[in-house]
Symmetry: D3
Subunit: 268 residues, 6 copies
Amino acid sequence: MPAEVALLARHLRTLWSAGGTVLNGWLHLPDALAAEVMARAGWDSLTVDLQHGMSGDAAALSMLQAITGTAVVPLVRVPGLDPERIMRMLDWGFLGVICPMVETAAQARALVQACRYPPHGDRSFGPTRAALIYGPEYGAWADAEVLIFAMIETVRGLENLDEILATPGLSGIYVGPGDLGQTMGIGAKLDRDDADFLETLRDLAQRTTARGLIPGVFAVSPAYGHRMAGFGYRLITLSSDFRLLNTGARQSVNEFARLSAESPTKSR
Amino acid sequence: MPAEVALLARHLRTLWSAGGTVLNGWLHLPDALAAEVMARAGWDSLTVDLQHGMSGDAAALSMLQAITGTAVVPLVRVPGLDPERIMRMLDWGFLGVICPMVETAAQARALVQACRYPPHGDRSFGPTRAALIYGPEYGAWADAEVLIFAMIETVRGLENLDEILATPGLSGIYVGPGDLGQTMGIGAKLDRDDADFLETLRDLAQRTTARGLIPGVFAVSPAYGHRMAGFGYRLITLSSDFRLLNTGARQSVNEFARLSAESPTKSR
Amino acid sequence: MPAEVALLARHLRTLWSAGGTVLNGWLHLPDALAAEVMARAGWDSLTVDLQHGMSGDAAALSMLQAITGTAVVPLVRVPGLDPERIMRMLDWGFLGVICPMVETAAQARALVQACRYPPHGDRSFGPTRAALIYGPEYGAWADAEVLIFAMIETVRGLENLDEILATPGLSGIYVGPGDLGQTMGIGAKLDRDDADFLETLRDLAQRTTARGLIPGVFAVSPAYGHRMAGFGYRLITLSSDFRLLNTGARQSVNEFARLSAESPTKSR
Amino acid sequence: MPAEVALLARHLRTLWSAGGTVLNGWLHLPDALAAEVMARAGWDSLTVDLQHGMSGDAAALSMLQAITGTAVVPLVRVPGLDPERIMRMLDWGFLGVICPMVETAAQARALVQACRYPPHGDRSFGPTRAALIYGPEYGAWADAEVLIFAMIETVRGLENLDEILATPGLSGIYVGPGDLGQTMGIGAKLDRDDADFLETLRDLAQRTTARGLIPGVFAVSPAYGHRMAGFGYRLITLSSDFRLLNTGARQSVNEFARLSAESPTKSR
Amino acid sequence: MPAEVALLARHLRTLWSAGGTVLNGWLHLPDALAAEVMARAGWDSLTVDLQHGMSGDAAALSMLQAITGTAVVPLVRVPGLDPERIMRMLDWGFLGVICPMVETAAQARALVQACRYPPHGDRSFGPTRAALIYGPEYGAWADAEVLIFAMIETVRGLENLDEILATPGLSGIYVGPGDLGQTMGIGAKLDRDDADFLETLRDLAQRTTARGLIPGVFAVSPAYGHRMAGFGYRLITLSSDFRLLNTGARQSVNEFARLSAESPTKSR
Amino acid sequence: MPAEVALLARHLRTLWSAGGTVLNGWLHLPDALAAEVMARAGWDSLTVDLQHGMSGDAAALSMLQAITGTAVVPLVRVPGLDPERIMRMLDWGFLGVICPMVETAAQARALVQACRYPPHGDRSFGPTRAALIYGPEYGAWADAEVLIFAMIETVRGLENLDEILATPGLSGIYVGPGDLGQTMGIGAKLDRDDADFLETLRDLAQRTTARGLIPGVFAVSPAYGHRMAGFGYRLITLSSDFRLLNTGARQSVNEFARLSAESPTKSR
């Protein structure tokens, strides 16, 4: 494949091979301009979240088009293990899939099969936009390069981790700490600090790494993300565009209010 | 008009009457969800910027719909002194207009005329969505309540300030420090600190206030906005959704990088 | 031109030649499906209102596409006398233009010029979609067939009526009773009943007809529209999709409430 | 939760507790402005129909945003028992789900599970927009407040009614008379009058009420809806925006034609 | 049904009855204007491809609206055997469905059931737009007229061909040569020339015809399509809008480059 | 400015400096995917046509985003000499403007002023997306790099050519042969062959080149474009996406029909 396509399609694997950690941005706003802002902020990859985000098909396509042409790898979190949608997102040009709620090896296999062409899978052939963007040889290298992450975010997924990790073709796992906590009965809090949970997170990363796969995780603060890197996570999401905008706006408003309270202007 | 409509339509005037300062958010992303995030962040008003923002008609309508139903007053910055567009934006339900590049009293009068019904102006009657949202009496109170701000952002506008301020029906001025600096030959820098420029800003606010009108201004940081409040500005914009997202994303990425550099994880 | 194109492009003129009255639907909802509903309800023509309606460019195009293929003639009310927009709407395939706020013969001439190719006007050549839909000969017959209506909706327009009616190429006038009342100082009420105003409406129709042009008018109720037909109006709008939906919904809700009040169910 | 959120989230339950009947509007037009018109017409709740309506994801989000901020409760009719979509719609902020074609208790349980967080269900945690609009405690009260209606619209669903009604967490049933008639072999007619069918409808309402659940039904005319209220239905839909517009437009056109036929104007 | 509706709904069957071949255009661009261009280029039918194309729900609706009103029959290729989506597309007004990856008689039966009303199938009643466009009797004739094509595009589908062809209500099969080659282990090449594959294509057409059903196939070049007609295929797709644009643009650019190289202009 | 930004912003000037000719694609379809197809077909620049094309603001932004990230220079043809729109398009990131119907030196000066910051023009400062994409120094180099083409497409423009060419800051002219022919009274035919007209075209190119400016022209066929290069034109448009799709589709259909007529299949 052409050099610049290889550069992009292999960008994350190259970072991992060099011992690096991939910093992943998360897109909840259904807006291509927000995606462009994020695509120029320094992330290695950006994930359009079709599960908890507000993007439908048309927004996902626009956002993908807005990321295309930058050095950022476009990933998609699909709403579930729906092969038709997974195939469509790959045809459009996403270079990796994060699939929620994988709980069994059978599901992990079904996920991989949706992402790969026969004889290694069931993916239907028709990489319309992908072939336009990445070149006519896309079909030849897609099976090797497309990233496939199974989300581990339930107690059941945790229990079946070893079998899931044994799935041929899987690139790694991606831990959803919110749902994991929820199914553990300790609530959906993010960036949580309790020792047991942290131990679970560390264990997940180590077992995944031990199988030669990449562990990924969702975090909110850079500090927590850094902690996860210390645990061995190599695909680390920080916050989301939605959350960053929300936090930034509130901080501005509150800071102005604080200053006004401290030193009110005469007229007030 | 119904109590809750009066509450909204008069919200900014009520704040000003009580000696308060209006904190205004600025919308550059053409996205109704970003507008919803902003509408719940604590701003008193939100301005859809059709001049330097990326919103066209359809986005402006969606964003306005997303603001409707909150206590935030929807304003629009139009791209220029185009009566047709100004009227359409008011018909859709914006409760105030900020018009760029007003340089003469004649322009200020044309602006006011575009916002008011005969006999006080030329506004064509047909407040379709406005009457739906604010009630059938909209036509009766619109002239009195719609806010009209003329942007002073050129040397020429500055020179003609007194005449502009004498325009009947004008609510206030809104200073664009970027263009003002540019036309002064000192560049378009925002939140600038040089004494002469600050003196100009202070003078603008005082002369406007002296005429019983509201001075407004664009700032980036809360600290600078607070300084402007100290100068007498009563409608103060801080940053924009676009800028807040950009800054927030870069801060997260950079903070993670800093932490990683300080204390690299083993695998790197 | 092909028979079915001629049928459409000349449909209104054919009705008028036969002494008929054109019943015109009015589109305020920016929605192509609503346009399809309207296009199958029996109107002779449909007008996409870009002045007081909520449609921008993209919605106008979709709505026009939704009307195309029916026997209904697509007209557009532009926001003002803006030749660039008028030309673009004609290039897209609208077969007639209603232009608001025409007050002088010079404006009427400018309107006609925007709608006609040199040497009879200034219209720039490039009927992209129009030629696709109506055929490659579109350029040859457009000048003859495109309908051009100047809105008379101010006292000044009324005063200059004779000169306006003398404009070569003008198809007719279209009376906006809301703005007319407003500029007369009697308010923007629609379907008004006062003798003087009715006399003005009748006079407008008669003078227009006397010049061989078509008088049009906006009405709300079928009864008032019928009355206008009696005055000689030949292009009669009734209500709008927005208003019809609003009225229909309120009637359903109120009728249910009335029935419930009359004969409350046991559980209430 | 904040008072105004509680007011909305519990609005329908409050009406039911007081012995009232909920009047529900139905949205088939994929248009946020039509949704705004409907949201101000007096309905207690509005249902975006993703099954037989023309809205896709983007329209559903815009329509929901347009309803937000009014006192109307936003519900969604999903196209089928697809947990991923149900979860996404709840994450976006719909406060209730109507699910078509529920025929067995197992399906009813799956429906409830899709709407509730562990340990009571499988809903994935990530109420992005819901938490923005309703506040950060959304996750704590969602299980208790989100409304869940199983559609009974087949003979098989009817046969299994008692088991379906026994599903913990179900709010009620919603009868689809069109499909019910169709599967009974008597056609899909709405507002039907035959005694047997009416008896079935009455029986459905009574058995549902007997289990402490809410019976809902689709009707077209206010008179039929009122009759259904008499049968004990407490969630009553009347017509749809699409149908109201269609009927209203045809009535205007026909009334004008009737008047013209009765008393033709001279020129005809 | 009205004559012009019958003309459209039966157009393909009429062509087939007369021994003709249906020429089908394929829509990958998510754009209603491109659909209009295609709808006026001479195809008998147009298929909106929701599997490998870039259209989501909103684009599919717009494209369908753009085709409506022409003599071209609108078909849809759904992404998979998803009854909810199939039903929705039919409710919107598509007159035929092409379903990918049908491999068993059970799947073929499920496909047919999704397209037909009880008692012949499971289709839910609510043909909203279909009834608007085709008239209120749509429900009465839809089962008889809606076209249902099962894609044969895997070795397994090939093996089960006879059973699939025995499915009551199936209109025909549609061969996907790309996926068929891929599952055969010979790659996804289109318009392939190897004797064995051609023999398979011929055999498929003959066996389908022998059962009284219509064989369809995807081709790229007119020459290959013509060859397929010679094999007995009666529904023949040629290329796609996406591919036609791509090829046309490259040809223009390359031809200009060739001319420039042959006879460089002085200044180069 | 960063190397890759300089590469893009100066790409056309670099080609011209090397004696090359810029091949320009023309975008009439309001679709970002079509723009992506065109952006990968080999054109040096692509022009979004907002005058005769079907794109509104939202489409123009999406198309621009789709071009960004390729080596193709994005230009815009605005609908007219409207400074507000020109400034907005530049703020969004278009790197050049083609303005129709420039007939006088005063208009040419107004065009240049709209594209340049004070003190060289009137452009308002706020390059939101432009600064995101091209970097924070955008404001410093925009005046020097943004391309400004005045369309010469009327007899009057021709007569005033020398004065127009004398406008400081103008990059070149762009000839619209359709409108030029129309105003000459010889019709709007494209790619015309008559000696007088060709002489006019040649003269226009030579006089423009003599003033050190770039002559551009619209052509349809590569052969005609090549001929124009021979005349000295250096910015040459060939056809449009709309026309290429239309031609390509008709050719496929016709070629299939021709083959079928030549060698009908047995069944016909």
